[in-house]
Symmetry: C2
């Protein structure tokens, strides 16, 4: 790995700090580097402002003059009521070069940020670490490309694909390591969705119960065409829950990452509509037999239609269980 | 790995050549070694005779005198109408030392083979490579320990645990690499079992369709309490198929390794009776939804009863699919 690639990698890792909290803005990471030393760092703040570049440049102060900037997404070119354009800030800071992992597909920037830097005499490189940057901002990029958040379906299931015992018992199929991992995924989502059936059967907390991350619980949402309001008795009622009357409401959320935690009716409806981008399957080494399945009818007519849609992107052990991450092939 | 461990490992790998063909005898491997060089090899022959030691000693001839023997199971101490005791053969051959991976739990030998060698002045070591030898002879050891063959259940399933589409279509859930691997597993079994439902629905060939292994097809068997005879029209009718009227008939088979290939009723009955020792799950990266599950009711009352029974012993990629090998924890 070249020096530039390593520095960009560090900027991208920094960008992950904002995951699940920067919507509607992308989670960006930024480093100010002088003579190979990192002198300041920034990442998109909760709510999306300040941007990563502004935070890094403020931290750098006068040290920015003549320094190089590493940023995981093209600096924005649009002035907003909430702040100036990052490209203008960078020019004003006296930075001599800007390394950008990827062009911002948002039409308000889309090349114009880099152009503004270039015409002001700042050296610009584009593309270092692009694949990693794409993965780090997958939710934001889904919004731009598909016009909706990235939707991740979480399933905790047995070898034979069951999510609960015949009588409904489902706590716990997986062990503590898998459950901790699943809680971390909550922290990385903007919104967490369940169906009305799960609300009524389980009244789940939908919070992040990991030491140090308790304040990272995503906004809860319930999918239901029949509820008028979310009952005040729900465990998450004090966290400003959303009521989604349809899948369109879900797709219309102005956030980057949505995590769906069931149940089967909700999973099926989203799978049938081909709206799931990623599945996190926590597989326990148990056979259940005639329990409830994780999904019901999803509208496939032939086996051939089922093939080619999913790619096992990652798998690893989590205690006695295994995580299988499937990515939709698009 | 020490020299002795490497040689024993080679003997154990040799023993695998007999897998699925030596019943009711164990599949054993044997090397004759002189001055660190392998001068002869033997493995249990189809039908169980000659034993590995006899084959190796015959191949070695006069070179056995003063040589060392590596053998994956304690040489037998019992004379049978089908041949002499291996311990006696070894003493007569003039071998100076015998390395044995594991004691033979068969009560007719169980320490007596090693004792006979020792009292004849042959140096004996016991235990090198025992774990690997146990695995190589798992079927035989199951017969001695549990009084029945090792029973392996094969399942080709989707992410969500379905083995066919709602309409019954199941060819193919997995790809060519997984199917080839499954065919190899057939070659390593003595008997392959299906339920009457699968016979009538699919009329499968149950043979080994791998180049060079066509003659390794296991003996086919059908589980059915209602059939009087296996229909002469069955594709495997000319391979002397067995009719098993009950699970007891299956357990009473005088073979080491039984492979069960479904369907769900047969899988459930064996899982409920806790008769499955190993599951080979070929997992395809597809979601099916409301297809047929691989197993039905298996008699568990609570989730706690499902836990602790299975251990993921191995997992690996096979083309686009993944093999998950689960071993019963006993
Ligand atoms: N082991 C696990 O990982 C796990 C996870 C979650 C849940 N579960 C279990 O799953 C069970 C609940 O599952 P479920 O399938 O019955 O219910 P569910 O999916 O949680 O909720 C079903 C409800 O969601 C709403 N909904 C679904 N699709 C919709 C759409 N396209 N538009 C509008 N509303 C939609 C409908 O509500 P309206 O009828 O109000 O319109 C529907 O009745 C519970 O027993 C729970 O314990 C297990
Ligand atoms: N995708 C795959 O990997 C796969 C593999 C295999 C099969 N399949 C599908 O599975 C379906 C058939 O499954 P299935 O569950 O209906 O049938 P099955 O398990 O193949 O056969 C059921 C029959 O087996 C006999 N049986 C089961 N347990 C028994 C016991 N304890 N004692 C005596 N006999 C016993 C009974 O026969 P009697 O009624 O005669 O007593 C029973 O009716 C087919 O559609 C086939 O295509 C899929």
């Amino acid at each position: 790995m070249s020096e530039a690639a390593r520095l960009m990698d560090a900027a991208i890792r920094l960008s992950l700090r904002g995951l699940g909290r920067t919507a509607p803005n992308p989670n960006v990471g930024c480093l100010v580097v002088r003579n190979g030393r990192i002198v300041a760092r920034g990442w998109t703040q909760p709510g999306g402002r300040p941007h990563a570049e502004m935070m890094a440049l403020e931290a750098a102060g006068a040290a920015a003059r003549g320094a190089e900037l590493y940023v995981s997404l093209e600096p924005c070119a649009h002035v907003s009521p909430r702040g100036p354009a990052c490209a203008d800030l960078i020019v004003a800071s006296g930075v001599s070069a800007v390394h950008i992992a990827m062009r911002d597909p948002d039409p308000r920037t889309d090349g114009q940020g880099a152009a503004r830097l270039g015409s002001a005499g700042v050296a610009v490189t584009l593309g270092t670490g692009e694949a990693a940057a794409r993965q780090a901002m997958a939710g934001f990029l889904s919004r731009i490309a598909l016009g909706r958040p990235r939707i991740t379906l979480k399933l905790a299931m047995s070898i034979d694909g069951r999510v609960s015992m015949p009588g409904g018992e489902s706590q716990w199929i997986t062990g503590p390591e898998a459950r901790a991992h699943a809680h971390l995924q909550r922290a990385l989502a903007d919104v967490i969705v369940i169906g009305r059936g799960t609300l009524e059967a389980d009244d789940p907390s939908l919070d992040v119960r990991l030491p140090g991350l308790e304040d990272r619980s995503p906004r809860p949402a319930v999918l239901s065409a029949t509820l008028d309001a979310i009952p005040a008795s729900a465990k998450f009622a004090d966290r400003d829950p959303l009521l989604l009357a349809s899948v369109d409401d879900l797709c219309g959320l102005a956030v980057n990452d949505v995590l769906v935690e069931g149940g089967a009716a909700t999973a099926s409806t989203l799978l049938a509509a081909d709206l799931i981008d990623r599945m996190l399957v926590y597989r326990a080494p148990v056979v259940i037999g005639d329990g409830a399945p994780g999904a019901g009818r999803i509208g496939l007519e032939r086996l051939a239609d089922a093939h080619g849609r999913w790619r096992l992107a990652e798998t690893r052990a989590l205690g006695n269980d295994r995580l299988e991450v499937y990515a939709r092939t698009r």
